[in-house]
């Protein structure tokens, strides 16, 4: 890993690069929102940002601090009800890319954000739950998952399936009637995993500069498939880093000032 940028910065830049201009992107708060706004500031000025709070075509001037940050409503093309976001915009498959995080992820890119350990009724750790994720995972044309890679997260078996990636493998999405294509990439702080077109199993296809396949294997709770033509992610450009840091700074300054109002 270079001294010039952090692993999280590389992860965010790699995620931003996944977003094509003039597509519609369903954005969760946190890293997905940072990545989507970075994409808008760099190669995808006409990226349409959709937040589940009801903001279609949001154009925040700083990074939003929450999914219902007022700045999202201010320059949005439209602000609609939460029911409308899900029913008229997400459900019919109008949204090109959905961005998800995960507390646990398995080799078929299924996601758990509900409970860890114990039973559902009496869990060891109670996580926030589903939010918009099950339907984002089902209905966006493609899904990108952004998550730090480690043994706590990359598990052999999920404690709870909150959102479906490829289920138990090829054909499962069609059998379940899920209309989007499913996960296209998992962006981590180590590299990029993509589903094998034949088996649907997540395969390490890119390593970020400085990272190693051994490091990735050691951070994965199943025998990690590695692509024959394993590539190295292009490092963040100076422009990407500058804009990313400006975005992060805008968030911190607004956070510091927000209690005054």
């Amino acid at each position: 890993m270079s001294d010039d940028w952090s692993a999280d910065e590389m992860m965010t830049v790699a995620a931003a690069r996944q977003l094509r201009d003039k597509t519609a992107c369903f954005v969760g708060i946190g890293l997905p929102s940072t990545a989507a706004n970075l994409a808008r500031a760099t190669h995808a000025p006409d990226l349409v940002l959709i937040y589940e709070s009801g903001c279609l075509g949001a154009k925040p001037q700083r990074l939003p601090l929450s999914i219902g940050d007022g700045i999202l409503a201010e320059n949005a093309d439209a602000v609609v009800s939460v029911a409308e976001v899900f029913n008229y915009w997400l459900q019919p498959g109008r949204i090109d890319i959905g961005f998800l995080g995960a507390a646990q992820l398995d080799r078929f890119a299924n996601i758990n954000t509900t409970v860890i350990g114990g039973t559902y009724a009496s869990p060891k750790v109670r996580l926030p739950g589903a939010g918009g994720a099950p339907e984002i995972a089902a209905s966006c044309r493609e899904v990108i998952i952004v998550v730090r890679q480690n043994l706590r997260t990359f598990v052999d078996r999920l404690d709870f399936v909150t959102s479906v990636g490829f289920g138990s493998g090829p054909g499962d999405r069609a059998r379940l009637g899920l209309r989007g294509d499913g996960p296209k990439a998992v962006i981590t702080d180590i590299g990029i995993l993509e589903p094998d077109p034949r088996t649907c199993e997540l395969t390490l296809t890119h390593l970020h500069p400085g990272a190693t396949a051994e490091q990735a294997r050691a951070a994965t709770g199943w025998p990690l498939a590695v692509a024959d033509d394993l590539r190295t992610t292009r490092p963040p450009t100076a422009e990407e880093l500058t804009l990313l840091r400006q975005l992060e700074a805008s968030k911190t300054s607004s956070q510091a000032g927000a209690g005054v109002a």
Binding site: I29, V79, V82, A138
Partner: protein
């Protein structure tokens, strides 16, 4: 027509022990002051309904007002866990909390069905997840025209819904704008409703993006300036993000939490902002 009254009177007359209570507001316009009044009046055995439980339900749960929670995402947005919610689920403190867990899409559609006077809503959702086997209120339904199988969820019909809005006029018509979430549906789905507002004005000047709740669809309106704090009221106040960060430490420990609630809610008069 809506009665314009005090928050104290409205909560006393509309919220009863054992009620199904929805308080909505998606990050924006969360009715904190009304929730504090519910806590002060010592309501018990409530079934709390809300898409995003947030700090407002962390407080109600930690103060022992709730026996059940119907929700879709329970966290402190941008900060982390809801510690009182977790303590109730993981350790049964101060009382066990029964969960009914949905996705956002499911909850939103349940309110839509409630508002529309239908017993259920049809959607595409939940398929392949572990939610249906842990949540009773999710079923399959077959399209009578195409034979396709879809998902059904039952209507939410709270005994009372509480929301916060920017303004009402003196006849009780309510106006809100900015991110308005599922508030309209939540109010229309309920048997009774209480809307707290930043101010009561003579005339509701039209605002782009406004949602209007006509007076005759609302039970009571109470003027509670800053009644959404620490969330925000678009055009009136900004979100107190520091408070959300500070809540993590306050709520992590049972005693610290109780002391904070004692000082800032129980001993407090009916004011909107306690920090």
């Amino acid at each position: 027509m809506a009665e314009i009254t005090s928050l104290r009177h409205a909560v006393a007359s509309l919220v009863h022990d054992g009620d199904v209570v929805a308080m909505e507001g998606f990050t924006h316009l969360i009715p904190f002051a009304a929730a504090h009044e519910v806590i002060r009046q010592g309501r018990r055995d409530l079934t709390l309904v809300r898409m995003t439980p947030d700090l407002i339900y962390d407080q109600l749960i930690g103060m022992g007002c709730a026996k059940a929670l119907v929700f879709s995402w329970g966290g402190n947005p941008g900060v982390g866990s809801l510690h009182r919610f977790r303590d109730a689920v993981e350790n049964g403190w101060p009382t066990p909390l029964q969960l009914e867990e949905h996705s956002h899409a499911g909850m939103a559609n349940r309110y839509v069905a409630g508002a529309a006077g239908l017993p259920f809503a049809v959607m595409r959702g939940y398929t392949g997840t572990d939610l249906p086997e842990n949540t009773a209120n999710i079923a399959s339904i077959v399209c009578p025209f195409t034979g396709e199988t879809l998902t059904a969820v039952p209507a939410l019909q709270p005994d009372v819904t509480i929301v916060h809005a920017q303004r009402a006029d003196r006849r009780g018509n309510v106006q809100m704008w900015g991110i308005t979430g599922v508030q309209k549906e939540a109010v229309l789905a309920a048997s009774r409703s209480l809307v707290t507002v930043e101010e009561i004005v003579d005339e509701l000047a039209p605002v782009p993006g406004q949602v209007i709740l006509p007076s005759w669809a609302v039970t009571a309106v109470a003027e509670v300036p800053s009644g959404a704090h620490p969330s925000y009221a678009h055009g009136y106040s900004e979100r107190d993000n520091d408070f959300y960060v500070r809540w993590d430490a306050v709520s992590r420990d049972r005693e610290t939490f109780l002391a904070w609630m004692e000082q800032h809610v129980l001993e407090s008069a009916n004011v909107g902002r306690q920090t």
